[in-house]
Symmetry: D4
Subunit: 249 residues, 8 copies
């Protein structure tokens, strides 16, 4: 990927290539060369962290191969999300420095590097059943170079549990609120905090929770300001945006 528009143009000007060849190369060049360049680097999280593989719907073989290719291309670490225990076992047979986190359904190749920002991402859950989603978020945030504080099982039914952690809430840079059922935790925390809150509805619940729909709608209608929402159970997505925000300062 070393060719870019400037080089093509200079070659053209220098008479090394014809107008038609320049035209052809321009079309094939990655758009990065035309200043649409950061598309790829941005998507691949290449900036200071590692690469991510979405494991769902891929075989252990495919995952291992992609991971190897990334390592060979210079990545120091790779985050694999939505990978179940069986696949993880197979992947670990093929790649040395692989560590599996069953709760989070996450595998990491290589080391999680130390935090490279000052701020802390607070990850709060309504109940213990939300913890798998929370751990997906927490490990993702850590992998991307953030300090993470975990505040689990602080659902609004026992408000004192939540209120006794007001310090953590007030001092976070970004908060990821993870809750199923009625998702009320999101409104309460956002009312207490003065930083951006990213809400993750979870599919925890039964009956009229409709697999997370109740929590999703609840969070979208959050009466507190400063809240936005990601897809049901999308701990990765919330952590990814939280990391972006946390790295702004």
């Amino acid at each position: 990927m070393t060719n870019n528009v400037k080089i093509i143009l200079e070659n053209l000007k220098a008479g090394k290539i014809s107008v038609d060849d320049a035209l052809l190369e321009l079309k094939k060049a990655p758009f990065v060369d035309l200043d649409f360049a950061k598309i790829d680097t941005q998507r691949s999280l290449r900036q200071g962290a590692g690469e991510v593989i979405y494991g769902a719907g891929k075989t252990a073989k495919q995952i291992a191969n992609i991971a190897k290719a990334l390592l060979e291309n210079g990545e120091k670490s790779v985050l694999i999300t939505r990978i179940d225990k069986d696949k993880a076992s197979l992947v670990s047979l093929e790649i040395g420095s692989f560590k599996y986190y069953e709760d989070a359904q996450i595998g990491i190749v290589g080391d999680i590097k130390s935090p490279d920002t000052e701020g802390t991402i607070l990850i709060a859950t309504g109940g213990t059943s939300d913890i798998p989603v929370a751990e997906e978020a927490a490990l993702t945030a850590e992998f991307l170079g953030n300090r993470v504080a975990r505040l689990y099982d602080v659902g609004v039914a026992g408000l004192h549990r939540l209120l006794s952690h007001t310090d953590e809430i007030m001092s976070a840079s970004v908060i990821v609120v993870i809750a199923g059922m009625e998702g009320a935790l999101c409104s309460v925390i956002a009312g207490l905090a003065d930083c951006p809150v990213i809400a993750v509805p979870t599919s925890v619940g039964y009956g009229a929770s409709f697999d997370g729909l109740a929590a999703l709608l609840s969070m979208l209608n959050c009466c507190s300001s400063g809240v936005s929402v990601v897809n049901i159970d999308n701990g990765f997505g919330a952590a990814y945006q939280a990391s972006m925000i946390n790295h702004i300062g």
Copy 2:
């Protein structure tokens, strides 16, 4: 409605009526006489309070006629719900002691009698837009002989507003929580209270509130115990059940 099965049977035994007549009377008798008796009295709220007319879908004329008939049959007061201002004006022309409450879309014929129980029904709303539903609940509860405490605009986005009224919440006999948008107030109050909480989702909101669906689902998934839910905007229904509960003691 003084005839009942026992009397019919005694008349039959005494030879005052024939078997066929007894059979006929049994069929016509209100089922109360066969121990299905309180159907009517129960439904008509006759026990100690007044009668209720659901005004929606009835003309002013129909409402006035039903109200008159009730008064002629001994009712001292009549509650008319879901009656708009225009209909109320027309009704007031026909019935003397008629008072209209525009906020609540309620009209009352006769006096609201004094509370006949000790307990208090607390009516709390998330925002000011929920007040019409809240007033429907409050006036209904008062009409049915309850003390009512109003606690409006205590949504969880400003938790301190709510927490500064913990005394009222702790001392209520029943709480009616009325909220639109994400309905989180219900979980928070139920977590603070130790009395039954009846939740009323409202159609207040826009977009993904889907006319109250978000609040409804949220309240049905309430993570606090002791909560049940009525239809969207059904302030009357919540107050009616709250009054039943408040009169148990």
Copy 3:
């Protein structure tokens, strides 16, 4: 948990602790001490009954450990809901006085104490398939110190089955109506009763029952007064609120 605000303040006044220490302790103290106090006791059902563990999403090990901790902290009995047979077997290996009710998916550690109120909670179901939810409700209500009457399989398709039990319906303090499919039982019983009715839609049915949605909507639109609704299949929630109401008198 013996410290409370008053003690902290008295210690401060007496010079036993500094202002900063008082401040710190105040923040850590359960809010009960600041009059937000009953949060915890209320949620934990500590008042006269035992503690409840929601078993779904917890391992047998976790359940056993929580139960043991509760027993060590003085609870005499513990109710475990939504626990399947396999988990129950494992729990029973670790805790002595454990009894499992398979129908209800409930396990109870210790004894169910005798009823401590006069009133009776009537639990009625539309069909035999609703019985698991009904038994969750019945055992919960009994665990919380209530007399329970069971009235199963009285769906409105055979109205005489229901009408022949009018006595039980008329004499109940609270009624929990449990029905799937079209949920019509709720309206009919509420029309016959003069006590609060808590309706539990169940996921029993197929096709356009949409896993309980039909019954849920039906019950929310109940044309009889005095009815409120809990989440689909939430026998525990209905019984919990019914117990609250039954203990008011």
Copy 4:
């Protein structure tokens, strides 16, 4: 419309028409001639009753013209459904023997003929707000030559009102049950009757009735046998099928 396949074929055999002409006529002929024949007569209700015009989405002019054309083609009476008062006024200016029924939003040209079957169609409603749909059904059934019994406002909240009419229910040939809100009336009546029951959910209600969806789902899940359902507010459709059934005997 006297030509049919047999005649065409006989004409062909007799040499009166050519093969090509026969082919052409066969294609143009109403399919009744090819044994798909009754399509038209069946759809147009021509058998013993009159023709029907669905008025919604048609102008008064269009309605009047269709009606006139039908009368000119020998119809003695025409039923116009879903026609509002304004259109009806305009139609009445153009056609003599036009009578308008505002409740039912129905106009009838010509006379409603006397019943031509023995059986009775019972039309029952849950509340007074369902009456417009019920009247659409009742007038349609009468127009199609049926005896109709009306049983309005017998919702299950006051079961005695319904039970006191058991005779009518037991003696009907077909029953059309019309109810909004939770639609429970359908199950109760079907449990009492031993004839086919056609259920019409209505859009009466608010909030979680979702414009008739709650009643529709409830009726589709009816736990009594012998029930089928038509579209929300479709009084005409229910009466049409009821008339078909009532004319079988």
Copy 5:
């Protein structure tokens, strides 16, 4: 169940029983005696056919016991619906004259009696995948004493398959149309027929069929007259009503 109100009353008049005993017996008596009488016989299909057991959610043991009890009480045959192969094997071990129809998931104890009406119920399906629902309907109809004609796989995509059976369609007394996916068969057949059509949406399909919702909505909006609809996959319900209609004549 031979006691009835008249006998009770005559016994009372004759001094054989006291007023209180009469009162007690009246309450216990099947309501049939008070003219609510046919409730039970109607529901139990006792009139000329056999009894039905809904097998879903019952154990093989329960099914066998209910069947035995029915046989001991004089039933000659019993229809068991929604019973899978495993349960059927167990039931067949306990009851002699048991025959299982795997396609229809139906078991029948005793003989299917000969048709007792002249008319024919036509059962038509859109595709071969709808046949299990169709067989549930067909066997139910036969069990209830009807002649049944099967017309399978006549979906509208190949209209000629359907049109070549116009005779069967035109000569049926009642038609049960069973179709998944878009359910268009219902409109086409109803346009060809002049008898009542009962439509059964099936859960056959994928994607936007949403488990039968597409077919259900399609059938409810059927543009042909004379159609009503039952629950998704409810072959039994359609056949039951069809049998009622077919026995009217």
Copy 6:
């Protein structure tokens, strides 16, 4: 918009511009210059027909100005969709050769040019209420240079109406099927035709048509091959794609 990549490159080679300027121009150039060129022409329908303005949500002033600008830039005709009568009146005051089609809610500036392909687009509707959507489709197709055949009110309830037009169906190049309610017309026509069928569900209907959802789902589940679907009421979109297909030959 006369600059393109080739010219830029030639200028660069000829030394007329610097590498940096070339780089800058390349970035600003419409992508057509890099062979992503037809983006614009494709979207603007510039190929042989005129330009389209979507009128909904634009003021008459805005519409007139856009139309004028297009005419000044060489367009010979402009199609304006979703424009109501009031806006059309205002537009006609400002632009001379403006013609309004009220049924279709379409305005056309300039002439509709003669068809430039041989094939015919057949536009069929289920009922007369679908005609506005059909006319939007028909006028759009004509505006885009297609022969259009209209086949209105051929719903499947009267199958003979449809079958008598089999010739038109068999000889069309593309068919646009427009139907509300249950949308069955789509399956039947696609079963008869051997050309692509584009289905347009309409919002015609009431109750469980849910504003076109029933027809939409029905059409998506169409059991005939060769069918695809556009948005509810989107006559324009169907005609646009039909025109694309019709111009392939």
Copy 7:
């Protein structure tokens, strides 16, 4: 199937058959003979390609038998869709020239014939998880005699991947766009192309993708012109229509 209406009529005229026999034959004849003729040939894909069997819901035995019958009736190749690996193994035991494509869940009996049109159908997917649906489409298109270009994993998150294939997009005759999650690929490709685009939403995704509903709605609302949509995961249907369009030229 050589008899047709003309022959029947000529035989009749020639006295070879009676009127009644002619009548009978007419009814049995494929409607092709009455000009409804191509129904069958069109549906069976007989025109230049092979026959299709929808494997879902059929046993291996049934599939094999249908395939054999088709081959015996002269088909050279048969396409079997939605057939899983186990069924495929069984089918391969019974039919010689059977090849199975596991990704696509497709089996083909006989050879895929060479393309018989010039145009190319481009099949594009948003991600790798959409490939099974894409392969169903690709193999179907190839089976029906089309050149197919595959463009997989060009989701809009990495726009440069897509833009670097603009040539393929611009030169396709028809494009099938296959995407789950948010389905945005459809709008982007349709904006770049000037040929018809058929969009296939897939059930790939989780949470608020609601099994493909999000992608379906997104594609139906596509802001680019020239797009139509088929059912979720319906690769076959899209390819079938694409083939129809590709064979027009």
Copy 8:
């Protein structure tokens, strides 16, 4: 509101107040004093910007009074959202420095202060109909002290329009993407950007857009990382969170 916990405690220690008085004051104090303090200031946006009034559901009188009270308490400017033209006229009569922005349905009292951060919030819309929501967002962001760049009508159907603004996209600090219909713009922009993207689905569209549901689901399933979503049409909410993020640096 100058009292805080520390002062209360010091007064207590100093003997100035009793333990009971301290207890009382603690309960009344804003929770900020107990470290839950910033609740109020956070919610009221008091930090460096002005106060916000949500105008929907409030009368002009109420709005004016709240605004006046805020001004009297020291606010320099007040933002009023969701206020229509009529209310705005009335408010302007009562408050001097009031300016109304009709597009955005926003009124501002006082001056919008100059930006107090370096970063820019880019606000992009898919179409011109999304501009009202975009202006609500833009004015809110400006009111809160941000530089705002507007990029309207860059929907993906004309990708070159969007790509020609890659510079603005690459250099923004936060991007608010506002789109109705299929919402694809969100995925495309997020794929190009490397800053947080907040997506606002709008209710623009018709038919299967279901008032913004299609765009909402699409955005929640966005395949690009770094995206979160707010409620339909909630321009204010997006801008509020964007401002929070933009002020972090």
